[in-house]
Point group: C2
Chain length 365, copies 2
């Protein structure tokens, strides 16, 4: 057994994921199997099969695992994981809801090693219609089916009513805030000029990722465990928000300097889509004069060629923006790591969070 | 006082609407006012103001009124209309959620006497971006904000947990079934050929309108009143589904033969969009040979000229499809009217339903 293998074997995060991810995926699969079985019309069966495949594609399941780990770490008394698995699955199904919409908006072709939903529906149903947009139109409404399914699963979860109601409140905040983050992102993609407030990249990351990926799933787990102490949920925020921001900064760095086989996303997509990430923010603030003009004119081009993309990437590196982003990323990760001990959860579940912190700390470029 | 005025004054439906529609609209307005006040970023305030305007545009508020009337007709004991108004408002906000998506898909310009949301956002935010699709992209995610808002209002409604849970179940069925209806509609719009199952127009109407517009809102009101008798909810279905179908058949007829000032929709939009309504179904089944070929080739054209639209409308009339649709509409309305007395609700609320039946019975062409 080599060293790497040993490290992996003793990782509590990996153990926890290996235990619960299959349960979450199994629930999702069974849910859609039942939907397929009980659908009254053939097209519903076909489309539920597409949704089953889409929602169970390989993925890290970060959000449901963060939820399940918080539940496990904060719960007192009787274990009721069977119901919590359902609600962790809801978070994953709602993630697919957002990914389908994301890919329609970004016109992306790939998602989690498969085709984007709007491409699948376009290929399957396109030939029957003169509507050239039928793929996106169908995918958009299939996302709505997932949201209705999520509410159904919540309504059927056998948890205490007062807890379910608190869960619904965090659920609504989650998708409201994420929507605002997505809107802010759209408002600042492919911009015609750069007259933005200074911290818009951080605002987008905070709304779209930091709350969505770590903070709210943790808060949901805490609530499901019966937690209601405002001080502790405040501490969860102080721990989770920097980590969520670090997650987004890492994603931004890998989006420009990572490799497709590591990230699962086409290289350079952030540059092609003209997203205002922190890297871009730092770059634009570091360069001046003709260099700045050239960077901005290339960055805001709708169709960019390879050479232009390479120039943009080079400028982000040369300007010091990559280094600044790496530094900020490191600071955020360590802030969060230092706050971990303040959380009043079981130590085994804190160890699992350490595993998540370690995964976010590593930036392979 | 002329005769028309007298009839209007004594209509229990009109009285009920005049009492509750302002309360529902007031709740929606106040909800968004609070959102505007508490939004942390300027663009959120702007967009919440747009959503407030959109959600409170003139409309008949059929669904919230059907819900409120069923609650009132079935409730026993203490009146708790303050909470029911909130849930009636949710149904109206969710209606806006669907209308925004509908207009994106159909590329419609008008809605309820104002501009479609994707046009408003496109005009306001288009100039800042090279993204030519920014209006639709933003409107799509603003619809998501409405869905999150709806869940928030439900979570804050002060009703018994067991009732809230039943409400959530019907809520999820409502938007699942409506989504399937919308998908079936998209699958059969602008078709390349007519090899459809015979009753596809009825399937679309049943999924997209009959359940959505009358049955589920009534069922929600029944549940909110504490109703749980499966026999009574069955009777509600037997009453409401024919009426909902009649509502859609009427809408289909007016969509081709109605006037814009009555319907609020551009004339001929169903023909332009190539929707497979019952009118089209009857027409295609009535004509043969060269006439059928000509009708189909014109109907499936993506860009239709005035003369072609007039030909299609004329053929729908000449083929007997208009008459058949009017007959079916009449039969459905009278079926529903005959079943009204079987409902175990207060007679004043049955009278209000009579007013709704009368409104659906009238087809002004």
């Amino acid at each position: 057994m080599n060293r790497k293998k040993i490290v992996e074997t003793i990782s509590p995060f990996k153990d926890f994921s290996e235990k619960y991810v299959p349960l979450i995926d199994r629930f999702i699969k069974d849910f859609f199997d039942k939907k397929i079985k009980h659908s009254s019309l053939p097209f519903m069966k076909e489309m539920y099969a597409m949704l089953r495949e889409y929602c169970t594609r390989d993925g890290k399941r970060v959000r449901p695992i963060v939820l399940a780990n918080a539940y496990s770490g904060y719960r007192k008394g009787r274990d009721d994981f069977s119901e919590v698995i359902k609600l962790a699955a809801v978070i994953e199904i709602m993630h697919s809801f957002l990914l389908i919409q994301d890919d329609i908006i970004d016109k992306s072709a790939l998602r989690r090693g498969g085709k984007a939903m709007h491409l699948l529906t376009g290929e399957k149903y396109g030939p029957r219609s003169h509507n050239s947009n039928i793929g996106s139109d169908l995918a958009l409404i299939m996302a709505d089916v997932l949201f209705a399914n999520s509410i159904e699963i919540i309504s059927n979860a056998g948890i205490r009513p007062v807890i379910k109601n608190e869960f619904l409140k965090v659920f609504s905040s989650t998708y409201e805030m994420t929507a605002w983050g997505q809107i802010l992102d759209i408002l600042h993609s492919l911009p015609r000029n750069f007259g933005f407030r200074k911290n818009v990249a951080m605002d987008i990351s905070s709304l779209k990722t930091a709350h969505y990926t770590i903070y709210y799933p943790m808060l949901m787990g805490y609530i499901l465990a019966g937690g209601s102490d405002k001080k502790e949920s405040g501490r969860i925020g102080e721990f989770a928000l920097p980590l969520g921001l670090a997650f987004q900064v890492r994603d931004d760095i890998l989006g420009v300097f990572g490799r497709e086989r590591d990230t699962g996303k086409p290289e350079d997509s952030d540059i092609i889509e003209g997203k205002i990430t922190l890297l871009v923010h730092f770059t634009v603030n570091s360069i001046k004069g003709a260099e700045r003009e050239k960077f901005l004119s290339l960055f805001t081009m709708v169709k960019k060629r390879k050479r232009e993309i390479a120039f943009i990437r080079g400028m982000i590196d040369k300007s010091g923006a990559l280094e600044k982003s790496m530094e900020l990323h490191g600071r955020l990760v360590e802030t969060s790591a230092a706050r971990l001990t303040s959380l009043k959860m079981r130590s085994v579940n804190r160890d699992i969070l350490t595993g998540i912190i370690d995964a976010i700390r590593k930036v392979d470029i």
